[in-house]
Amino acid sequence: MHDFLSLLPLIIITAGAVLLMLLSTFEKTNVETASYISMGFYGVAFFVQLVIGCGPEVTIFDQTFNGMLVANNFSMAAGLVILGCGFFTSVSGHSYFKVNQFCTLEFYSIMMFASCGMILLTLAHELISAFIAIEIMSLAIYILVGYDRQNVKASEAILKYLMLGAFAGAFFTMGTALIFGAAGSTKFMAIAAALNMTGEISPLLLGGSFFILVALLFKVAAFPFHAWVIDVYDGAAAPVTGFMATALKTAAFALFANFLAMNNVMHSGWVTFLFYLAILTMFGGNLVAIGQDNIKRMLAASGIVHSGYLLIALVALNAEQFSGSVIAYYLAAYAVGTLGIFAALSYLSGEGERRADFADFKGLAKVHPYSAAAITVFLLSMAGIPPTAGFMGKFYIITSAFNEGQVTLAVLGVVSSILSMWYYLRLIINMYFHEATDTFEIQGTPLATAGTFALVFCVFAIALYPVVI
């Protein structure tokens, strides 16, 4: 019974996606109804996931799925983050598409298909099911990026993303093939058993896992593979960018952590590699972010920096007793901050997203003090200022790095976090210390505004959660 319950959120989301796909053939249903339906399905799936809660680690339908899907506390937490992201994206989409009218019903359906792939990805403990889950997720996300077909920028973004994403997918399959050759199976359990037998990574397995790491590093936009992320985030619509930045990263990091944590041999074989990548990702991302004038591009670059912090957590994870709590907590903390800013951008940026630069938001605090305060809370959370979720997330990551003896990484993480203040504070200064030149009329529906303030509440709730428990 618990097997079925663990799959229930996935089933609900898939049912919602299929239902919306069918409804889109009726002329009576409009886009707003679709967004309410998708909010409903996300909400129900979220609560089901929450109520089922955690339990012992279960291999879902061991006989039928042959041990390919495993549900545990980590996959549940990641699933919650993904479903929450989906809910708030539908909320901000509701307002955004009132002003920018290129949305059809299929938008929400495709978004739910993407979430279905993401949840499958958090459960996958087998390389080919992981590959299929990645492709379900990515194919849907590609379409969402290029949804505005009249917009040349969006079309260019989908071209870049699709080309590089398919390239990374090919690396993933080749890696799977090599690992299959070395271990005789693509299941994490069997690969771990093969690794335990030899005690070291054989050349074939080393090549295979390298290819898979390359593909995963691409998906999370880590250092040498980060160039695409800025263009793609810039080209996509604001709610889509928020969804990509949070839910996709959560799913990719869930698989990344599961893959590395399958075995001590695997993890220790890649620690040094990931150590340098974490440093380069943090500082490379900061350098890129400091030079940006566009808010979406700045947020994309700051997403690279946050991937760097999560790589620290991956370096410091303990493969023997892997719980993933640090990673899941940080992902949740990062998700609420980023989603909040994109929800605010959804109703503030106006038609065709004409307010996009730092300079366009000058004096926002004079016109909309509450919205400016909300954005400030999100930015401070991302920068890691104490009473927010971002601070607690960074605190846990740095502590876990200390506990595993990675003092250099911990110190560099703090330095990078101080550097990142530069571009977060720049937006805050623009909002508060300038006279308003724009009227900042809020168009669309009040739903995105409500979502933004709900997310402000979430920032503090997530920060207080570990204190209360």
Binding site: V152, K160, A170, T173, L178, F180, G181, D234
Partner: protein, 98 residues
């Protein structure tokens, strides 16, 4: 004999990477990616033979199905791009510079 097939698979994969990196035409790039996926499929079949199981064949089928879905989307994107610019050269698309 088995080794020869494996080497062929690696050569195909490298050709695919080379194609993606050097070619400027969107079509050729997607074809190169398909070549990489099929190189992986060949490797699956070879290893399936090595381990004397049918698992690899099943995995290759899965990859083919996903590759077909990806190709469908890629072709749609090609049409979209052609509508915008009338050209399929990747150099033409340079509005976003990262």
């Amino acid at each position: 004999m088995i080794h020869d097939y494996l080497i062929l698979s690696v050569i195909l994969f490298c050709l695919g990477i080379l194609g993606v990196i050097t070619r400027r035409n969107v079509f050729t790039v997607f074809m190169s990616i398909e070549l990489m996926l099929n190189a992986a499929n060949l490797a699956f079949i070879v290893f399936s033979r090595v381990h004397e199981s049918m698992d690899g064949h099943v995995l290759a089928m899965m990859v083919m199905a996903v590759a077909a879905a990806e190709a469908a989307l890629a072709l749609a994107v090609v049409i979209l791009l052609h509508k915008h610019k009338g050209k399929l050269d990747t150099n033409v698309f340079s509005l976003l510079k990262g």
